[in-house]
């Protein structure tokens, strides 16, 4: 018996909806079976809370008098991109401060705006007849600006690699600090809680899907950059490494510091922990097969990050149960593991979203268009025009 989104929304309206998080559904299915789960459970909430560099915010400041067409913009000394209209900018999470380097950056500006803190705006311009002003220095807050929305080109990656280091020196990467001689290994996925691992073929998550986004209600606006659905998959549908990804959009002014956090990876740079929750409607039995996925069914590959090349040597595959146990075997030797994304925060988000649905504060949407299941994944080669 198939269920429609409309039927589920009717149940939300009458407070009769049955929602489980992506962890609870595992035991539920084990106990009651696929058929019963498909009939009785309406929604499974998935979530993730991890650093996602491909994030940033569009902001419109409003016009000063006399007006300015900004050509260079800094927010708390962090450059923002302004090659769009006069007082529109995009501030990228990974942009570094020109005065504080890696100690501050775009992610921190976004966090400060969410916290309601004053942010110094400095801009210069060449001046035109319609926009005569050539410089401005002022302060803004979340409440003084017009629109401010996060538009993150690549979030919620469907699985990610494990990083380790075979060299004889400590290296500092976007996967964290990696000790020499396989001293540790780091990974970054919510595993069994992760949105796209619970809907591996994007049957319900698509363009237009309403999501929990940094504490606000946001939307999937497109498939993410580097979306690579063609990655090798297991029979259960899950890819063995980074595959699909999502471009997400949501109102910065409605976000909460609990579900989004600026951070710095030492000697790598600034990035942002994004908290994302996605409800999966249990439309049929096939969907139950997907959402019952558990950590031991999801595999990823170990790579040597000391090799500074696009293709790194592999040290085999492991599953998330092994990774979460705190140690894995590499070359027959035990290596301690650590997660970069927070499972505890992901669990919290899946429960927050569950409550919002149960309390009638969050309704599900059918997607407007599906995410592609075929997409080219290209590398950047250095070519002359003739070689193209």
């Amino acid at each position: 018996m198939a269920k429609t989104i409309e039927e589920i929304n009717e149940k939300i309206k009458s407070r009769k909806v049955v929602v489980l998080n992506a962890e609870e559904i595992i035991d539920y299915v084990k106990e009651k079976g696929i058929k019963k789960a498909a009939k009785e459970v309406d929604v499974v909430t998935t979530a993730t809370f991890g650093p996602m560099c491909s994030s940033g915010a569009f902001i419109n400041f409003g016009h000063p008098d006399p007006p300015i067409k900004m050509t260079k913009v800094w927010l708390n000394d962090v450059p923002a991109y302004t090659g769009i209209a006069a007082v529109d900018v995009y501030i990228g999470a990974a942009e570094l401060s020109e005065t504080e380097g890696m100690n501050y950056g775009g992610a921190y500006v976004i966090e400060d705006l969410i916290l309601g803190k004053p942010v110094k705006l400095r801009a210069t311009a060449y001046g035109t007849d319609c926009y005569p002003r050539r410089e401005i220095e002022t302060y803004i807050t979340r409440d003084t600006i017009n629109q401010a929305y996060l538009f993150n080109p690549r979030n919620a990656y469907q699985n990610y690699a494990v990083a380790t280091n075979s060299s004889n020196r400590t290296i500092y990467t976007y996967m964290g600090k990696l000790l020499p001689n396989f001293g540790n290994a780091t990974y970054c996925s919510a595993g069994q809680l992760s949105p796209l691992l619970n809907d591996p073929y994007y049957r319900t998550i698509g363009i237009g899907t309403r999501i929990f986004f940094g504490g606000s209600q946001g939307y999937v606006s497109w498939y993410g950059t580097q979306h690579n659905p063609g990655k090798e998959r297991l029979p259960n549908g899950t890819p063995c490494g980074p595959a699909g990804s999502l471009a997400l959009i949501g109102n910065l002014k409605e976000m909460s510091p609990q579900y989004l956090k600026a951070c710095t990876f030492h000697l790598y740079g600034v990035t942002i922990f994004m908290g994302i929750g996605i409800p999966i409607p249990v439309i049929d039995e096939e969907m139950v097969e997907f959402v019952k996925i558990k950590d031991e069914d999801i595999y990823t590959e170990i790579f040597d990050y000391s090799v500074q090349r696009r293709n790194k040597p592999s040290y085999g595959k492991v599953n998330y149960k092994q990774l979460r146990s705190g140690k894995i075997k590499i070359n027959g030797k035990f290596v301690q593991t650590g997660s970069i994304s927070s499972y505890s925060r992901a669990l919290e988000i899946s429960n927050t979203l569950k409550k919002e649905i149960e309390n009638g504060k969050f309704y599900l949407t059918a997607s407007v268009a599906p995410l592609p299941l075929e997409e080219k994944y290209s590398s950047l080669d250095i070519l002359s025009k003739e070689e193209l």
């Binding site: 500092y172 964290g176 922990f273 705190g326 650590g338 927070s342 505890s344």
Partner: protein, 135 residues
């Protein structure tokens, strides 16, 4: 019988003295050197665990201080700022003694100070600067 973990700092002029030997001989203490290093300018630093009679440990500390060794309580040195920590667990992969672990049920960070040997490998790994040294 009690146990105390201390950080001993030796200035250059006493770095060659057999101080730990005295701790055994004079004060009947058991010790375990968890870490020791001599910096290029000849200052020594040692993380030591002492086990013995409380009065004798106190006397030993008095002796150390009189000799010119600076004595610090070790367990107080690493601080986890719970307001900053997001419980990711990246630090647990670097913690050799597993003083830092994620709780198996809640997946929240646990810090067992007794296991910490102050190697400080975790210090520059925390993306939200939640790990600090308290001096």
């Amino acid at each position: 019988m009690i146990k105390r973990k201390l950080v001993l700092s030796f200035p250059e002029n006493i770095v060659t003295k057999p101080i730990t030997y005295k701790l055994v001989k004079e004060f009947n203490l058991e010790f375990n050197i968890l870490r020791a290093e001599i910096t290029p300018n000849m200052e020594g630093k040692m993380l030591i665990e002492l086990r013995g009679d409380k009065a004798q440990i106190d006397q030993a500390i008095e002796y150390l201080t009189d000799t010119g060794v600076s004595v610090q309580e070790a367990a107080k040195d690493i601080i986890i700022d719970k307001n900053q920590c997001v419980d990711c667990g990246i630090c647990t992969s670097l913690c050799i003694t597993q003083a830092l672990t994620l709780d198996h049920k809640s997946f929240k960070l646990k810090f067992n100070k007794d296991e910490c040997i102050l190697c400080e490998l975790c210090l520059d790994c925390c993306p939200v600067s939640a790990i600090k040294v308290h001096i």
